[in-house]
């Protein structure tokens, strides 16, 4: 193997980007745009959910002459006004109608004996008549109510039969959904753009016969593939640097572990993706056919890689397919580094998996070039 051949191809790729500003913009601006969209659209907290409180609680008078105590009101006060937009109504049927009409998400109904039942040590019920058509909004309402119950009981020095102390998290104490999401966005952007660009570039090389001309030189197929791998490995790392920096500034993402290790993972992913792009290009006879392959690349990765939702949310029989996709390992590795703060001693399975994918795809890409007509 001659480094001159490899570096010659690498330099050719970089020079191509130097003159092709659109491709360069696609590599840098598109991931930032993707992160912005996903970061804002998916990672934001749910706020301003319209709910109606119908409070029929008559309260409890501890001793004659003392003011009436209404635990229900304490409970309502403990609901986060940022998350829930509370409207008061007295007519339960009218309130339910508003939910039915789509003007509100839920009715929180306290019965007349709510406080007296609690004070008397009996159990009671808060009735929630909710529109569950949006699971995430519904989950936000339920979470708010649970939090408000715990807070109210604590304030009243009343104890719940069971309580959970989750203040001492092992990892990700301050993690938010964006911390989970952004490593996925980085993975998806690098995988998609690198595969897409290599697929289109190599299809153009095949159609325009530049590949034939390069293959007619003393350079071997492996040297050509490695030249591309080196170029896209560097580009992938650069994309990761830009994206992580943007994530820190714009979304305050957690970076608990080594950034160098994170960049190693993105470089491995980028090189694997470019080899996949070369491999796929062997099945395309025109650029149009190459573009038609995009759904084949995007859909499985989008749905199965655990990039946007956890693998645990998938049926167990689907998970082996997830582990057959390189982005699954890259996203997992990045999350382990960025959120858990793990080092090489812990993330080596993800690194090894990516290295195995890299060698496999490089070999297949080389064979696809070697396959003569």
């Amino acid at each position: 193997m001659r480094s001159r051949h490899v570096l010659g191809v690498t330099r050719r790729v970089f020079r191509g980007f130097k003159h092709d500003r659109r491709a360069l913009a696609l590599l840098l601006i598109a991931p930032i745009l993707a992160m912005t969209v996903f970061g804002i659209a998916f990672a934001g907290e749910i706020t301003n959910v319209d709910v109606i409180v119908v409070n029929e609680d008559t309260g409890f008078v501890p001793l004659p002459g003392m003011p009436t105590v209404k635990v229900s009101e304490m409970f309502v006060d403990n609901l986060d006004a940022k998350v829930l937009n509370i409207e008061r109504m007295t007519d339960l049927d009218a309130a339910v109608k508003k939910v039915r009409d789509g003007d509100s998400w839920a009715v929180i109904h306290f019965n007349a004996n709510f406080t007296s039942a609690i004070m008397g040590g009996n159990s009671t019920v808060v009735e929630v008549r909710a529109d569950k058509s949006n699971a995430q909004v519904y989950a936000a309402i339920v979470t708010q109510m649970k939090d408000a119950v715990e807070k109210t009981m604590e304030e009243r020095k009343l104890s719940l039969p069971v309580s959970f102390d989750v203040s001492n998290a092992v990892y990700g104490k301050d993690a938010e959904f964006s911390d989970f999401l952004i490593p996925g966005v980085i993975t998806f952007a690098i995988f998609l753009l690198t595969t897409l660009l290599t697929l289109l570039t190599f299809t153009t090389e095949r159609v325009g016969r530049t590949l034939d001309r390069v293959l007619s030189t003393p350079a071997t197929e492996l040297e050509i593939v490695l030249g591309y791998a080196l170029a896209f490995g560097v580009i992938g790392t650069f994309q990761a640097i830009v994206l992580v920096s943007y994530g820190v500034v714009a979304f305050h993402i957690l970076i608990e572990g080594s950034l160098l290790l994170a960049f190693l993972i993105t470089a491995l992913l980028a090189m694997t993706s470019q080899a996949l792009g070369i491999l796929l290009s062997s099945a395309a006879h025109t650029e149009a056919q190459a573009v038609q392959m995009l759904p084949v690349i995007i859909l499985p990765v989008f749905l199965l890689s655990g990039i946007f939702w956890p693998l645990e949310a998938m049926p167990s029989w689907l998970r082996p397919f997830s582990y057959a996709l390189p982005p699954t390992w890259a996203a997992k590795g990045l999350r382990n580094i960025m959120i858990r703060g793990w080092g090489m001693a812990e993330v080596w399975p993800q690194v090894v998996a990516l290295v195995v994918f890299l060698f496999l795809f490089l070999a297949l890409a080389t064979l696809s070039l070697r396959r003569k007509q």
Partner: protein, 254 residues
């Protein structure tokens, strides 16, 4: 001395026979024209000589070596029909890539770039991005790339297709210079009038060599007055009955 020896060369693509039992012997320093209409199998032959296509059967020796050996690549200059240039790179950058891939001595690269660009009269456009050049200029760049590493053997696939008559004349003048430098030049074309520039020609039809020799001799042997008539006589019956297009007249593509 023989630069190319081809014996019993066959190439099939499924049921289609692209090249059928081809025998060739091309001497060093010769300008050899492989002529024939579109679909005759010329490009397939060139691709097998370069090592880009694998023969179904037969033997190919180029410069005394079996084709496909990477060591051979440095001695061959290949110009594909499609020009095969990196459109977003400058002329200089295209040449730089091949200087690296052909492992040229670094102190020779600039000298050679200047020589080949002067040879194709494009010295002043070396910093231009290829896609900004005219079609004729791109043809010239493509030829310059093939010549950069001073190959012993040039395999040029339809280098004059889509080229205006003036540039065609200039190309053939260039090929004459290359012959004078002792290089072997194998050119495919479907322009019959270009045969007069060749030392010898091989007329191909449906994958087979139907005639070979110096152009005048091929015409004489066929009892024709020119090469086009000779070709039609040689393939008469078969080609006409099948409705095959005759090769192009001067400046006209078949």
């Amino acid at each position: 001395m023989t630069a190319i020896v081809v014996r019993g060369l066959c190439k099939r693509f499924g049921d289609i026979v692209a090249v059928d039992s081809l025998d060739l012997a091309i001497e060093h320093g010769e300008v050899y024209g492989l002529l024939g209409p579109n679909g005759a199998g010329k490009t397939t032959v060139i691709r097998m000589l370069v090592g880009l296509a694998r023969p179904t059967s037969g033997e190919v020796l180029v410069l005394g070596r079996p084709v496909g050996e990477k060591a051979l690549a440095g001695s061959i200059g290949y110009m594909p029909q499609e020009l095969a240039l990196y459109e977003t790179l400058t002329v200089d950058e295209n040449l730089d890539l091949y200087a690296e891939l052909f492992e040229m001595q670094r102190d020779r690269v600039d000298v050679r770039k200047t020589e080949v660009l002067r040879f194709v009269a494009l010295e002043e456009r070396r910093a231009s991005i290829v896609h900004t050049l005219s079609g004729g200029m791109r043809h010239r760049v493509s030829l310059a790339v093939s010549l950069l590493h001073e190959p012993e053997l040039l395999l040029l696939d339809e280098p004059t297709v889509g080229v205006d008559p003036e540039l065609r004349a200039s190309f053939w003048e260039n090929f004459g210079h290359l012959k004078n430098q002792g290089r072997t030049v194998v050119i495919t074309t479907h322009y019959m009038d270009e045969a007069r520039h060749c030392d010898r020609i091989g007329l191909m039809h449906r994958g087979r060599l139907v005639a070979e020799g110096p152009p005048a001799e091929v015409v004489r042997r066929a009892g024709a007055t020119d090469l086009e008539e000779a070709f039609l006589r040689l393939v008469s019956g078969g080609a006409r009955a099948a409705g095959a297009a005759p090769p192009a007249k001067e400046g006209v593509r078949a």
